[in-house]
């Protein structure tokens, strides 16, 4: 392949799809890039490779660059968010023993109502809930603290959120080290297939259209290489648009399944792309609209208010100054580059950098530079909202 070489690190997950598709379907090549994709064994290693310049860009959990901006973990290198790669895509699963108790409490696994599912889960506990997430700075952890906290479970006495690498999640559940997990696709489906757990809820039931992964680069690199940054953003955004077309899902699943990417059965991968999930070994099927979103509703736009929300929560948990944390997090959201580099491709351009997070229960029209844009609902299950100007 010709073009300027650029290496991008990723974790083998379905939501790395925009990067994989950018390479495989040729969007990167069209933009004059030879996109080299390098799988990483863990999020911390991916972060350190990026910080140390072994790779130019990375697929990252939304809260990771925010944590770096707050000086939490890693080397203190400033990492910027160029765009959001995906929304949602996670699922919460429980051990089979716990699933049985939850059913006995009358919850029929409708896979929709976070309040009833959470109450039935809490009622089924004998002690603190031990729940696995992929990384301490993850939307998984944020969602769990919000959901179970709103229903009265207090961390850390009632709620023990532990880091377990996704490929080891099913094993940890089987060994009784955790009671439940929150994990990205396709690892929830794998826990179902291997018979160790059942799926309780999709992440979307806790918050609609929550940002999940981002395309991250070193701030210094983005400043030094505006041309490569532009090409990388365009190729990735075009790949997200391609992924949003339902007719491309089968192809996408086959590509992601390849040995050099996820190396897992395409059928399991396709479940998360279509939002048709099998939640138990009895083969119960649940359809989830917007289970994993790459594009609709200006999905890729890096809202500074979203970073401020995560920063505000991390600051509260870690005992840091909230205002300072929010300011540092806002600065890394490169809405300026989004405008400069994607406008002529027809990307939707929200007029603002911030919005009130969680305020939209319905698709909502907002003003943009070119007219009107319909934003997707972003409400939390309990109606909580975050006003970044008045947190």
């Amino acid at each position: 392949m010709s073009g300027a070489p650029i290496s991008v690190g990723f974790i083998p997950l379905v939501d790395a799809a925009p990067l994989i598709i950018a390479r495989e379907i040729g969007f990167a090549e069209e933009e004059g890039l030879d996109l080299k994709l390098a799988p990483a064994p863990s999020w911390s290693t991916l972060r350190d490779r990026l910080a140390m310049g072994q790779i130019e860009a990375a697929h990252m959990l939304f809260p990771m660059p925010v944590a770096a901006a707050l000086g939490l973990g890693g080397f203190g290198t400033r990492i910027d968010i160029l765009l959001v790669l995906s929304l949602n895509g996670n699922s919460i699963g429980v051990s089979r023993a716990l699933a049985e108790k939850i059913r006995a409490n009358g919850y029929e696994f409708d896979f929709t109502c976070a309040k009833r599912a959470g109450e039935a889960l809490i009622a089924a506990l004998d002690g603190p809930l031990r729940i696995g997430v992929p990384f301490p700075f993850s939307m998984h952890a944020e969602m769990l603290y919000h959901w179970l906290g709103a229903l009265g479970l207090k961390a850390p006495q009632d709620l023990d959120v532990r880091t377990v690498p996704p490929p080891l999640m099913a094993e940890a559940l089987a060994a009784g080290e955790i009671d439940a997990f929150c994990v990205g696709a396709p690892w929830g489906s794998i826990a179902v297939e291997t018979g160790v757990g059942e799926l309780l809820l999709p992440g979307t039931a806790i918050r609609a259209n929550a940002p999940e992964k981002v395309l991250a680069v070193r701030h210094d690199w983005a400043e030094a290489e505006p041309g490569l940054t532009r090409r990388l953003m365009r190729a990735t955004w075009l790949a997200g648009r391609w992924l949003a077309r339902p007719e491309n899902r089968g192809t996408a699943a086959e590509i992601l399944a390849l040995h050099e990417y996820l190396d897992l059965p395409a059928e399991l991968i396709e479940r998360s792309l279509t939002g048709e999930l099998i939640i138990s070994q009895r083969g119960e099927l649940r359809r989830v609209s917007g289970y994993l979103e790459f594009f609709e509703g200006a999905a890729a736009y890096p809202w500074a208010s979203q970073a401020a929300l995560v920063a505000s929560r991390l600051a509260a948990r870690m005992g840091l100054g909230r205002e300072e944390a929010m300011a540092a997090a806002r600065a890394i959201c490169r809405t300026d580059l989004y405008r400069r580099n994607l406008a002529d491709l027809g990307a939707e351009m929200p007029g603002a950098r911030e919005k009130i997070e969680g305020a939209m229960t319905e698709p909502t029209a907002v003003a943009t530079q070119s007219g009107k844009l319909i934003l997707s609902p972003d409400a939390f299950f309990d109606g909580w909202i975050f006003d970044p100007s008045n947190p």
Binding site: P41, S42, T45, M52, P134, P167, L168
Partner: protein, 194 residues
């Protein structure tokens, strides 16, 4: 004089763990423990209460240590990923070698340096050995496949071994492939047709 530093090495393969341990012993007088099990890793480490933890960056369980590095409950010691802003070269050398070090906050750089230097040298060697082993294994497997493909051709076309190999090599050149790939395709096809 401060007490002996205690080091935990997280490594599943006993041979590699022994190599790392040996080189640390050469570097200084440390208390060294190896943890091979990744299940319950955070608990196993906090039981030992080490000053330094060394783990291969290729180990997926490393993310569990990130969590420990954040926890500073009353019973746990604050642990930080090794960062020495004075000596970025040392950190970079460690990352390039593929070793990550977690140290108790406040431990002086001059006490960590010999440990990290020894670990970096050993990790470079281990990674080289691992690459060599993988390459040798692949080469042996490829040779087996090529031998089988030659056998198939000799039987089907009634040619000798040299002619069979020449045919494989010519096909590979014509198709822009490696001999091993052509041989593998032939063996697979023959298996399907048999």
């Amino acid at each position: 004089m401060s007490k002996k530093l205690s080091i935990v090495v997280v490594e599943a393969e006993p041979e590699r763990a022994a190599l790392i341990e040996a080189s640390l012993r050469e570097a200084g007088d440390f208390e060294i423990a190896v943890i091979a099990e990744t299940a319950g890793l955070a608990r196993r480490i906090s039981e030992r209460n080490p000053d330094v933890v060394l783990i291969d960056m290729a180990n997926p369980s490393r993310d569990m240590l990130e969590e420990m590095a954040l926890a500073s409950g009353p019973l746990e010691r604050p642990v930080a990923m090794f960062v020495d802003r004075e000596d970025e070269g040392m950190t970079k050398a460690a990352i390039d070698a593929g070793v990550s070090a977690y140290v108790v906050a406040g431990l002086r750089a001059d006490r960590i340096k010999p440990i990290l230097d020894a670990a970096v040298a050993r990790f470079h060697m281990i990674h080289r050995m691992r690459a060599e082993l993988a390459a040798t294994k692949r080469a042996l497997e490829e040779r087996k496949v090529i031998d089988r493909a030659k056998g198939l051709l000799m039987k089907a076309r009634g040619v000798d071994e040299d002619a069979a190999y020449a045919l494989l090599r010519k096909t590979a050149m014509d198709q822009g492939k490696r001999v091993a790939e052509v041989a593998q395709a032939l063996v697979t096809a023959a298996g399907l047709l048999a």
